[in-house]
């Protein structure tokens, strides 16, 4: 079957861009996370929407599963071929199609990477920027939006799916559709005022279609940028502090972090607050607003801003931030995974204590932190564990810790983000039955042959 499949795929994309060889099947069978390998029968790299459409039609004809994949960096194994089939690697569809500098959006192809858009804007539209996740820059815009990712402008603009302005999607049965304003006007300015069909494709772990184009909001790129680091000792204060800082509506991004390394940081709760301005005067004004918002804690001497001379700020202003990637390498051997759980801000203290308890119980190298989404509307709290992939015991420890963390996050009232297959099960168990039933009905309408990334969001 593999030979027949690869031959047929080769006819669509050209033989250079398809493989059923053991090497590729092995490489594409896993990601850097803890999920066990699951190999595809073939890997294909389409160049355009027409080719994606033909691949999907072929999959339906042969009743073979298809798994859409960007950079495969999701870490929770969502691009593994759980039931075999074809991995559709989107990286060749990497064009930046349009930038609208007035209405501030970009339209990119389904495989365009974060790094590419950043470089393109820097060169052609230096007055604009987009919100970058801290993932390696090869991570794709589509892959990130599809998992409700978040990034360095998430206080300003919400999660990356909130920044989505529309999509072109190849549905599981092969039709090409559009969502958002581009379906009516040709402009990709937003998702309103239409029925919001984009929601059919975000958060679904690639089970409802393949995104071939998407529009994403852009933001002003400031000439002057600064970062403040607020330090506290009492986790119970954090919700109030976060709420106060975000109430100024000045920060672009806010990332609390709590880590035992470096040793001086252990036990302290930090919040990096990034903000920018067109002029120095405006920057100072914004800084004063941020500082005033938490003055009561400073005056009580229980929390304050870490003094950072200007030359030391550079590393905290790097986008993407290298810190998580550095932590990922802590145990060497290329293993890294984190449970990110979306939750309400008031759960911060409980999430923090839970993370510490689990790390201690499972004896894993940990880093805890969060990304604040919106003006303090919620957060993605992460529990990151580094492990050595070559050391089975280490992998098992991290994997057990992750499972325990998922359960704990759900118990707290959070929801595991970009949940790996077992965590999806845990979520479904807690989910309103009407919601899950509607998800299933939607999928059976969109995907009668059940070819799209099967094994995910299923009981």
């Amino acid at each position: 079957m593999t030979t027949d499949l690869t031959t047929r795929l080769g006819k669509i994309v050209g033989s250079r861009f398809v493989s059923g060889e053991a090497e590729e099947r092995y490489l594409y069978s896993m990601d850097p996370g803890t999920m066990p390998a699951a190999a595809p029968d073939a890997v294909v790299m389409p160049a355009n929407t027409d080719e994606v459409q033909l691949i999907v039609q072929l999959a339906n004809e042969l009743k073979v599963p298809i798994v859409p994949m960007g950079a495969g960096l999701v870490l929770s194994g969502l691009t593994r071929a759980l039931k075999g089939g074809i991995i559709v690697d989107m990286k060749r569809m990497n064009h930046i199609i349009e930038v609208n500098p007035i209405s501030r959006y970009a339209v990119v192809e389904g495989g365009a990477s974060q790094g590419m858009l950043k470089a393109y804007l820097k060169k052609h539209y230096p007055q604009l920027k987009h919100s970058m996740p801290d993932a390696p820059p090869i991570a794709t815009m589509a892959g990130n939006v599809c998992i409700h990712g978040s990034g360095h402008l998430s206080v300003l603009g919400g999660s990356h799916s909130d920044m989505l302005t529309g999509m072109e999607v190849v549905l599981p049965f092969g039709e090409v559709i559009k969502t958002g304003s581009c379906s009516v006007s040709g402009k990709w300015f937003g998702r309103s005022p239409l029925p919001d069909l984009s929601g059919l494709f975000v958060g679904w772990a690639g089970t409802t279609g393949i995104v071939t184009k998407l529009g994403i909001k852009l933001f002003p790129n400031y000439k002057h940028n600064d970062v403040l680091i607020f330090v506290a000792e009492d986790a119970d204060l954090m919700p109030e502090i976060i709420s106060q800082l975000t109430s100024t509506q000045v920060a672009e991004g806010m990332t609390p972090w709590m880590s035992p390394k470096p040793a001086w940081a252990k036990g302290f709760l930090h919040i990096n607050i990034a903000y920018g301005a067109h002029t120095k005067k405006e920057l100072t004004f914004k800084r004063n607003l941020l500082q005033a918002s938490v003055r009561e804690h400073i005056d009580r001497k229980i929390a304050g801003f870490l003094p950072l001379p200007p030359p030391q700020k550079g590393r905290f202003l790097q986008i993407p931030s290298p810190d998580l990637a550095r932590f990922a390498d802590l145990r060497k051997g290329g293993g890294f995974e984190y449970v990110g759980a979306m939750m309400a801000i008031e759960h911060f203290p409980e999430a923090y204590r839970t993370g510490l308890e689990i790390a201690e119980k499972f004896n894993v190298a940990y880093s805890l932190g969060a990304r604040i989404i919106g003006a303090g509307h919620c957060m993605m709290f992460f529990f990151a564990y580094a492990f050595n992939r070559a050391d089975a015991e280490d992998v098992k420890r991290a994997s057990d810790a992750l499972e325990a963390t998922n359960a704990a996050a759900l118990k707290i009232g959070g929801i595991p983000w970009k949940a790996e297959q077992p965590a999806q099960q845990q979520i479904i168990d807690k989910m309103d039955s009407g919601t899950f039933s509607l998800m299933n009905r939607i999928r059976s309408v969109l995907d009668p042959n059940q070819v799209m990334n099967p094994g995910n969001w299923e009981i």
């Binding site: 506290a232 000792e233 100072t284 200007p310």
Partner: protein, 329 residues
């Protein structure tokens, strides 16, 4: 109290007193261990150490009182975290050094400054295990100074100087020299080596290298650091250095006894708006006299002000680097 002038408080640039009587009252409160607004409002600029005509160590006493009373100049987590950051690491190993041995304190990024004819044959020592720890004066932590300074001295001796054949330690930074002279004296800490201030060392070297000097022939402004208040004699040595390399230290309002804080410490004290004001005053003052270089001896002042100074068209530079230029290096 017999002092007639109460210079320590009357000359303070950051606190004002209606008259000598009020300053005396506050000073008496400090002496007697009572509450005084000075303990709360002090910027920890070290200047009163210099202002006192009788060498009575008013600033050290002030810090002592702050700590006794639990008055924190900065929020507790900020102090605690920095205490850990700057703690001895115990990673020191014996290293053969030979004179001149230059103490670079906690600034490994500056070891490159020790080069060329000026520092010919020099060895450097650097790191948290030889950190002078004087910075705790800014954070009401005399106890840390008492605890860590002897340990640092012991490290310097046993890991470096004891087997080196030299008993002299050239202090690159005012702070180290201030620690091993003024602070050690006042706190009763024994210093078994002879600290040499960088300025004394450079001044002496310039005598030896007189023929190699190419005059700078430029106007400079100097940002005098807080720690130089502990060793004011050396400010005159600096004048001799500038004279020898023909750099004209242009008089400005905020130099010498009237030097103004660079703004770094007030930020740690969460007084950013005051820090902004200090930066602005310093820079306006520097620009008003039309200099080419803004010379620093304190790396922290340079980190705090350097970027802003450069943006305003002055070249920020360390004393030793300016001398290197004069030596054609």
């Amino acid at each position: 109290m017999n002092c007639e002038t109460i210079d320590c408080l009357m000359k303070c640039q950051y606190l004002s007193f209606a008259d000598i009587a009020e300053a005396r009252e506050e000073k008496l409160k400090i002496n007697d261990g009572k509450d005084s607004r000075v303990l709360e409002q002090c910027l920890t600029c070290y200047a009163c150490q210099e202002y006192c005509p009788y060498d009575n160590n008013p600033f050290y006493l002030l810090v002592e009182r702050q700590e006794e009373k639990g008055i924190l100049p900065a929020p507790k987590p900020i102090i605690e975290e920095q205490l850990r950051m700057m703690a001895p690491k115990g990673r020191i190993t014996k290293q053969a050094v030979s004179g001149p041995v230059v103490d670079m304190c906690a600034f490994p990024m500056l070891t490159g400054c020790v080069r060329g004819k000026l520092f010919e044959g020099a060895s450097t020592i650097v790191g948290m295990d030889v950190f002078c720890n004087i910075m705790w004066l800014h954070f009401a932590k005399n106890s840390t100074i008492r605890q860590r300074v002897p340990q640092m001295i012991d490290n310097i001796m046993s890991f470096y100087l004891a087997d080196s054949g030299t008993n002299e330690l050239v202090c690159f930074h005012d702070e180290c020299y201030g620690t091993y002279t003024s602070v050690a004296d006042a706190y009763g800490v024994e210093v078994p080596f002879k600290p040499i201030h960088q300025f004394d060392y450079i001044n002496q070297r310039l005598n030896d290298l007189a023929d190699a000097v190419k005059p700078i022939n430029a106007k400079i402004v100097y940002q005098r650091p807080c720690s130089n208040r502990l060793v004011p004699r050396t400010d005159q040595v600096l004048d001799e250095i500038f004279e020898k390399i023909r750099a004209q230290r242009v008089p400005r309002k905020y130099d010498r006894e009237n030097a103004l804080c660079c703004g770094g410490v007030p930020r740690a004290h969460q007084r950013d708006e005051l820090a902004d004001e200090l930066v602005e005053k310093n820079i306006k003052d520097m620009l008003s006299v039309g200099a080419t270089y803004c010379v620093f001896n304190c790396p922290f002042c340079m980190a705090t002000l350097g970027q802003e100074v450069a943006e305003q068209g002055l070249m920020p530079i360390l004393v030793s680097d300016l001398v290197q230029i004069a030596l054609g290096e």
